[in-house]
Symmetry: C2
Subunit: 184 residues, 2 copies
């Protein structure tokens, strides 16, 4: 997962995989089927870990909006962490994979839909508890948040300083917090 996340699908060679897995080519194919299938398993692992992280942050906050804002602020620390890439592996894959990697591409799409759904559910919950105004649309808010996370993580992949990423995450989190209904 770390190797594919770092190098992407096309630039990861069989030699790279042999080294990372400490396996011979024959065993790699016998175990995982193909490079594409192994990549899909890596995508699933990545999305699972990302979802666990999101759930943990949401569970630590009673208010869904506060939880989502905290999630954004956590991402603001991306440049201070030793990660294979600051960009999201699902987005990297979405942007990199072509027609020939249709299965892996559809896997990345499905996993992004899962994340989007989790965001939408949080906004819907905020609406049920009166934290969010009735007339706002949880689906639009969820998609907006996903696009912001995509943008924040891509921005963090640039050669910018850590403070700029923190400031950006903070601005996005503040906009989210400003959605809190004044009646709440």
């Amino acid at each position: 997962m770390q190797l594919f996340w770092h190098k992407g699908f096309h630039d990861t060679s069989l030699k790279d995989l042999e080294r990372a897995l400490e396996m011979h080519p024959g065993s790699i194919y016998a175990t995982f089927g193909s490079k594409g299938q192994l990549f899909q398993e890596a995508l699933e692992r990545y999305a699972h870990l990302a979802l666990v992280e999101l759930e943990r942050t949401l569970a630590a906050h009673e208010s869904p909006l506060a939880g989502l804002a905290a999630y954004l602020r956590q991402l603001g620390g991306l440049r201070d962490q030793a990660v294979p890439s600051r960009a999201c592996m699902l987005v990297k894959s979405l942007l990199e994979l072509g027609e020939r990697e249709k299965d892996a591409r559809e896997k990345a799409e499905a996993l992004l839909t899962t994340m989007e759904k989790r965001f939408i559910d949080s906004f819907a919950k905020a609406q049920q508890t009166g934290e969010l105004d009735e007339e706002l649309d949880p689906t639009r808010l969820g998609r907006r948040l996903q696009a912001e996370v995509m943008g924040l993580r891509s921005f963090a992949q640039r050669d910018v300083d850590s403070a700029a990423v923190h400031a950006l995450a903070d601005d996005m989190a503040s906009s989210l917090e400003a959605l809190r209904s004044s009646a709440h």
Copy 2:
């Protein structure tokens, strides 16, 4: 440019380039130096066209904020257009290129900085004309806008319907318009 934008750097083969340029391998290397150098020329061409498009939209509006909002709404039509990729070629490159393609990566970084600077300048101009409150930071607003454009275009690369992309662009544009000083 269209080929590299569509397939990315690594998945574009010499065969693909031969077909697209109608040139023999020897002539390609003699003319452009290397695949990496040709890719850099494609990046420059892409950024030039993107900047011309942005300038045209900004010039069509007297207010900088209205111009930037119109630019976002234009991007909302991405799924209705026949483009090599809905994602930005600079962002695709930023996410795809590794250490071995350092020069092209730095080129993509520099071109993203140019776009960011143009956004920041627009916010600064809006401040000079009193359209934007004095206490807001044009640099932070410019970076936020760049991250939103990155996110919007990556989101549009997903298998979503056109209306969802229009709605997302509209929500981002509305937030931008809401920055307009009430005193203006």
